[in-house]
Assembly symmetry: C2
Homo-oligomer: 133 residues x 2
């Protein structure tokens, strides 16, 4: 597993698909993920500290997680299937049990920036992603 | 409180804002709510029984609710402030306690169609909405 962090969000309002870039924490490798406009906006608004007048969908998820006394432990981008990244949210429940929930990386990252949960990428995925330095 | 159901989704792919119509269950009153394209698509895909190749954000919320053994009891559209509808999700936790979570009606309805939770509208809101028969 490689610990990564969000390094760039490239939003082009004329396009539906947007690009975010994840960067290795202990190195220079970076790779892009194509995500939807709404998810990109949701990530950017949180990072920019812009409060939406009404809760965005990811804010709602965050409220739900807090309401049930759970905690997002981490996000793991663990697979790439037909050029699509797959991810898992590790959710620690009130009773201490950790459950693993399948998600798109975009949703996972929108939650990770809200919970400050660490983001990891599987070594194999890192090797197969379009990595640049 | 007035029990309502989703009666129409009007999707215009050239626009960002879409319209859904809620209809009184025990009567003929209906009113429109303007929601985002993504939320409208999420509602329509579920109703049409179209499975997304990867979980949509509302599918992720549903999985989270199930994972923590909670249950969506109902959605209540309880306020209209400056022409914006506000809503609450009533979430019954594993221990039997019901928590109330603030949300946009669009997210609430996208979850209600996935959980078959009933939808209610406050009488005052119903009177102030642009109602047609």
């Amino acid at each position: 597993m490689v610990a990564v962090e969000l390094s760039k969000i490239i939003i082009d309002e004329k396009r539906q698909d947007q690009i975010i870039v994840l960067k290795e924490k202990a190195g220079d490798r970076q790779f892009p993920i194509v995500i939807g406009f709404l998810e990109a906006s949701s990530i950017q608004m949180r990072i920019a500290g812009v409060a939406a007048s009404r809760p965005l969908t990811h804010d709602l998820i965050l409220t739900m997680i807090k309401t049930v006394d759970a905690q997002m432990e981490s996000l793991v981008i663990d697979k790439m299937i037909e050029n699509t990244f797959h991810a898992k949210i590790y959710l620690r429940l009130k009773d201490g049990i950790t459950k693993i929930i399948d998600c798109r990386p975009s949703d996972g990252i929108a939650l990770a920036v809200r919970t400050e949960a660490p983001i990891f990428v599987d070594d194999d995925v890192m090797q197969h992603a379009v990595v640049f330095k």
